[in-house]
Every structure is written in structure tokens, then in C-alpha cells.
């Protein structure tokens, strides 16, 4: 299954995809409890396609208490639209009970593993479905007591949760922090992967690569995806992440076609 993010810029242009998305991913925070034009749009698209949810504001890595009221709203929304896949960033986005509206990294420490794992278990019990955790891009390392891959594997094991593996993030982090993305892929517990993200990025003049989701996916990322699909369940949903720069639908179609070629080449002419 291949999906695309439900962005307002393209919500009414889905017919322009040459390879039609099997599912649409949305950020529940942007769509829950709204009516009017976008509420109507959501109802319409949900009638023709399956939805997945990729949260922005849970702040699973924060020292702040979990916002159970907000999570209750999320759960109602997931139930209303029959959404099974709910993923979140392995990050923190609140501090001092205030939102930063950005995903910031968690220190790679044993202490953080315990803290985050406890919270993942609590959230999973509450929402009555898996909480799928995504490997984020990080531009600074707060503490490297553990390697990133060991930190991730430890959380997966301790919380018994599933993994949203973003292959572009593996590439970006590998380049930014000097590790081999292919080795990361060999070491991560791929048996936990239940959802995959693929996206484009942008390299700054300084050489730092930002996970911007506004460009074509590059070949080395597709090579990682090719390796990954050999290791995971073939029905695992794969999402093309695109957050901006929608002017060229040709780019979106190119990326969708390339993903399709990787997961089911026999179906692509």
C-alpha cells in the first residue's frame, strides 16, 4: 500500500495522481473537531480512502505529564474515522506544559528509554490501539550514552511498541551525524516496523541536511527503501511525505511511481 499526506494544497487534486494513493495520512490535530469546508472535505475523502494518523503534539518524550484530555479527543477522532494506524514522533514538543510546535530530540540515555517506554505503554492502553513511534531527524545530540539505533531498539523492546521507520530520516541522520545508514538498517529491529515513511530533504550551504519533505526523494533513500522492503511484511503501508512545494505534480507522480516499482515492480508498466 502506498499513501500520501492529506495536505490542504492537494486535498482536491487527488485525481491527478497517476498511481492513486491507497491511503491518506493526516495530522489529527489539524483535522479533529472541525467543520465547514475542511470538515466536509475530510468526510468526502474518508469515504473513498483509508486514513492513517501521524500526530504532532503528543510529546511522548517530554517530562511534562501526558495531556489526557487531548489524547481522549485523538482517540475519539481515530474511532470516528476507523483509523488503525496512529503514529507519533519519538521526540518532545512541549516544555513547561507549553507547546513548541516542533519536534525536539530526546537524549539517547537509559533514563530516557525508561521514561519514554512507560509513557508509550500508558498511551497504548488508553487509545486501545498501537502507538507507532517514528525515528525522527535530529540536528543536535543532547546526550549519546547510547547510539541512536540502540536507543530506538531499547525503546521498542521495553515498551513493546511498533516502529514507523522513516528511511529518509535514516539517511539524513546518517549524513548529519556520520554513521552508515545501511548499517543502521541492518541493526534496527525491523520486525517491529509496521509503517514506513519516505520523503525528500534539503541540504543547506553549511552541509547540514534538513528533513523538509519538499523535494524529490533521492536515489540513496530509494536504495535504503529497497533494502528495507526485503526485511518487512510486504503489506506494510508506505507513505510518501510531502509537506510543501506542490506546484509540480510531476514530482509527486515520479516519487509515487518509484515507490510502486520498489514494492511491486510487476504492477508498474
Amino acid at each position: 500500500m502506498i499513501g500520501i499526506g492529506l495536505r490542504r494544497e492537494i486535498a482536491h487534486d487527488l485525481h491527478r495522481f497517476e498511481i492513486q494513493p491507497d491511503f491518506l495520512e493526516l495530522a489529527p490535530e489539524n483535522w479533529m473537531s472541525i467543520g465547514g469546508y475542511w470538515g466536509k472535505t475530510l468526510k468526502e475523502v474518508s469515504e473513498s480512502r483509508k486514513l492513517t494518523a501521524h500526530g504532532l503534539s503528543l510529546s511522548i518524550g517530554s517530562p511534562d505529564p501526558i495531556n489526557w484530555g487531548f489524547l481522549k479527543e485523538i482517540k475519539s477522532f481515530l474511532d470516528e474515522y476507523n483509523i488503525d494506524i496512529y503514529s507519533e514522533h519519538l521526540a518532545f514538543s512541549t516544555y513547561d506544559n507549553a507547546h513548541l510546535y516542533e519536534s525536539l530530540p530526546i537524549p539517547f540515555t537509559e533514563e530516557a528509554v525508561k521514561h519514554v517506554s512507560n509513557r508509550i505503554r500508558e498511551v497504548q492502553d488508553f487509545i486501545e490501539r498501537p502507538l507507532i513511534i517514528e525515528n525522527i531527524t535530529y540536528y543536535t545530540v543532547l546526550d549519546s550514552q547510547l547510539r541512536e539505533v540502540d536507543f530506538l531498539n531499547a525503546i521498542l523492546a521495553e515498551s513493546n511498541c511498533e516502529l514507523l521507520l522513516d528511511v529518509n530520516n535514516i539517511y539524513v541522520n546518517g549524513k548529519n551525524h556520520g554513521y552508515d545508514p545501511k548499517k543502521f538498517l541492518e541493526e534496527i529491529d525491523t520486525s517491529r516496523v509496521s509503517y514506513v515513511h519516505v520523503g525528500g530533504h534539503q541540504t543547506l550551504d553549511s552541509g547540514l541536511i534538513l528533513d523538509t519533505h519538499n523535494n524529490l526523494v533521492i536515489d540513496p533513500v530509494y536504495e535504503l527503501l529497497t533494502e528495507l522492503v526485503k526485511r518487512i511484511n510486504p503489506t506494510t503501508p508506505i507513505l510518501l511525505e510531502r509537506d510543501s512545494n506542490f506546484e509540480s505534480f510531476a514530482e509527486l507522480n515520479t516519487d509515487m511511481k518509484r515507490i510502486k516499482e520498489i514494492i511491486s515492480p510487476e504492477l508498474v508498466k
Partner: protein, 239 residues
Amino acid sequence: MKSFIELQKQIAEFSKKGIKPSVDFSNANTYRKMVYDNTANALNTTYEMTKLALGDDVWMSLVDEFVRNYHSDEPRYWRMPERLITFEEKANWGAKHEVPWLGESLKFEWKLTELFHAPDDTSSDRDHISIDQPAVFGTAWKLMSFNYPVYKPKWTKLSADKGSYSIILYRDAQTLEVKIEEINPFLSVLVTTLKENPSHSIKEILMEIMGANGLEVNDSVLDSTSKFCNKLLVFGVLK
């Protein structure tokens, strides 16, 4: 070794407020820029008219101050700009910077966004409003009163514009766009009183307001009130 809580505090405070961390985080400025840009982008989009009226320099100084100091417990990003209203009020920002209309302008533009996204109302089964019955209000509308005509696209921002302005903002049930209806002070009082007295008929409320002002209710007043209420029915303000 610092606890993970302390480390997160340091990167968060640097990203939001620019407080220099005691640990040397590489590329920390990237987070500072991302946090700033995310906040500024949401404000720029929500308050397009206010930004234009203030001019870029004043607007950016407001945004800079807001990013450093605001505290938002709102998980929904699109609703975050509402916090600029309380920030402006608490900081008395408009008065301090000689833009007395700032608060009203922010409130007006936020309400445009909020009404556009408001949850859907149950539809009305009435095609006519009788003023002998109580008014039943819908949900996707708002009566607003201003001292400055901040809702007019090309208002002058001169003190000569200071006055008393009332509008009804409503989401058109057909187009789902938010529209503006200017109303006079009397109708503003009528709508407010109707809302506050849901068990009284429209006519009773009308007579009460007119009586309190020493005015007579004649057929012409009843007719124009009926027309006004039926216009509100078309707008979805009444149902």
C-alpha cells in the same frame, strides 16, 4: 552528567527564548529557527490584514516578543495564533506602540479563522422566522463590536475612524465561506438581548428594548424586525 529533563529544558529554552544553554549543542540554532518560523508562519497566515495594517517592522517586533514569551497549552497548531490575542492584552502591546486598534484587529481576524473551522451545526428545518416565537441561534456565527472599522479592507487607521461599529460574522451554509454583515447599534442590542433571553419571543424582546428607550413599536418596526430575523435565518445565525 545532566539528567534528560535538564538537557531538554536547555534545548527548549534556547529554541524558544534564546537562553544560552550551558551545554554546547551543535546546530542548536536550527531548532531556534524552526520554532520561530513555525510560530511566525501561523501568525502571518492568520493575521494577514493586521500584518499589512501594522507594516512589516512593527509586525515583526510583535511576533519576536510573542515567540519569546507566549505560553500555549493548545496542541492544535492552527489554534495557536489565538494566543496572540491574550498576549497582546496582557502586554498592553497596542497601547504601548500607539496602535490602539491592534487588539480589535486580532480578535476580528482570529474569529474569521475560528468560524471557518467551527464544527458543523445541525441544519434548520424552518424556512421562515415568526417574531412571535423565541429566537433559536445556530453556532457558526459571532456578533462583534469595535471602536475601529478593522473589518474593512481599506480602513485608514486614523483616529478619525474611531466610532461604534457592529458586525455579524457568519459562515454561509452554501459556500462555507465566512461573511460579514454590518449592523447598526440597535440591531446589535437586539441580537445580544435575544441571545440572552432564549425563552422570550422576538416580539417581546423588541418591545422591551423599544420601551426602555421610549420608542413606539409600530407595524413598520415589526416588519423590519421580521425581515432582519429572516435574513439571519438565511445566514444560518438563526435556525
